[in-house]
Structure formats: C-alpha cells, structure tokens
Symmetry: C2
Subunit: 166 residues, 2 copies
C-alpha cells in the first residue's frame, strides 16, 4: 500500500477534512452548493457522501431536475479528490475534463450522491504522475441514490494541475 | 418538410414560446434556474440560447463551476424540445436519459448555452414515433460559449413520453 492514506494507523473513516469543514468550504466557495442545500454526510478515503433535499432541486414534474442531479454528482466527485489530496498535504488545481451521466429513474425526494475512485488502484499512479509531471488525470464515479436504490451514475475524468506541498 | 415548425409561413425566428414566457416558466418551475440567474436570450426552432452571469455560478477558483455549466446546458437542451413540442401543440413528458459533457476551457465571466438538435433531420422521425408509440428518443446538443469562443459541449439523449394534443 504505497500511498499515505492507506498506510496510516488511523481508522479509514477518519479524515483531516471533516464533513463540517467540507460543507463550509463548499457553501463559501461554490454558491450553487448552498442554493441546492447540499449537506456533507461523510468524508472517507474511499468515498464522499453528499445529500440534498428535493424542494430547491425540483423540476416542473415534481422530481429532481437533471441539472441538479448532475451538479451534486460533480460536487461529490470533486470533493473526494479535494479531500484525498488535502489529506496528503498537497494542493493542486482540480479541473473536470469530461463526464457522462446516466439518469436511471426519477428521484421524488431527498437523495444522496456517493463518489468513489472508478479504479482505486489508480491513485498511486495518479499522485506519482502529479509529483513527477505536475499534471495527472484520474477517473471518479458517483452513484445517486434515492429511497435506498441507485437512481443515476456519473463517470467523470478530472485533471490535477500543479503540486504544492504543505 | 413534413413537420409543423418548418411548414409555417411565419419567419423561423418567431415562436409561440417567447423568451419571456420560457424564462418565467423555468424560474417558476425549476428553482435552480433562478438560483443560477438564468436568462432566456432567444427561442427559435433551430436553437435556444440561455445566458447566466458568473457570480451565482462561481467556483473556488473564480471560474464557472462545472455543475453550473452542465445544469444550464441541460436546461437549454430541454427548453429546445419543450418549445418545439409546445409549438406543435403537443405536451409530452420530457426526461433526460443520459448526457456527456466536455469542459474545454475555463469560463471567467457571463456565458451562454446554445442548444440545437444533434441531427435536425431526426425531428420528423421523433414526432412520428411519438405519435405512433407514445414514446420516442431524440439527441440534443448544447455549446457553451464565453467571450465569443466555445468553452464546452453537452450531448444529451432525451425521451418523450405520452402525446397529448391541445
């Protein structure tokens, strides 16, 4: 296990970035996250879970607007990379390059977005490439869940630029 | 030219759905469009143009948040189908099934989203299938522009369900 996250003795559910800190950061820096009433449920190395209620994200049919679903999935995916890099003491500019989004069923109420590395083993190559070349790409996925069932999935490709250590 | 839009004698830039009507509809029914300060610039059979300012859509880097970019592109794509079907006197439920989004360059200020049918010739098959089977799919694209240059593109697949005439 070559990377910092996994070598630590702290239980994996602990993180330097707490849910409250991440939520505050999102609300302060990305006003749409506040407009969508996004809450941070949990931040772990393996996944970040965000949630949002229906009313600010509703569409003309009384279900979640696809743009809200897409936006919260992107937020969750970005948050995972932000938290993992922060926990390694590095600050890179993270840019989304592309994503696909599948809307599987309508969401009629509050929902969650759980992001995770599309390939967890890619992390060590990603950070090594970032250190060596100052630029690296990594794929992050995000599952939207409503009433205990998947309702959609985002697959995104992010680029990290620059590598500044604490 | 088999379809209603194109057979009319009215100039193509005229539409039953006016920009003001569409903007009012979006703001009333999709609160995120109001939070993003979305304006409707134009509604024509061939394209719908929306615009949004930077401040409500900003991210931690001072550029447009990818989730906002994606959401306004989805709104513009949906609006085109809504306006075209409305102009034909039909009301179908429009559902986004999937989309891809490419983010080509950062957006540092107010921006526009121009949606159009990915294949304009597909419209007649779409409406015919919708009338016959009560369900049909169609692809819509949307280009984001900032400072006169493309900044991103969405390609979305929508499903229309049900066909109720006025």
């Amino acid at each position: 296990m070559p990377e910092g996250w996994l070598c630590r003795f702290a239980p994996p559910q602990e993180s330097i970035v707490s849910p409250n800190e991440l939520e505050h950061y999102l609300h302060q820096n990305i006003p749409l996250s506040q407009a969508m009433h996004v809450s941070v449920v949990s931040v772990r190395p393996e996944d970040v879970v965000l949630s949002a209620p229906l009313p600010p994200n509703i569409n003309h049919r009384g279900t979640v607007f696809g743009g809200s679903a897409s936006a919260i999935a992107i937020l969750a995916a970005w948050s995972l990379l932000h938290a993992r890099l922060h926990d390694e003491g590095t600050h890179s500019r993270l840019v989304i390059q592309r994503n696909t989004m599948h809307y599987e069923r309508p969401i009629d109420g509050g929902f969650t977005a759980r992001s995770f590395l599309s390939d967890p083993l890619a992390w060590s190559v990603f950070t090594r490439t970032l250190r060596r070349r100052g630029r690296a790409r990594i794929a992050v996925s995000c599952v939207l869940e409503y009433a205990g069932r998947p309702a959609g999935q985002l697959d995104g490709l992010f680029v990290a630029l620059g590598m500044e250590s604490d």
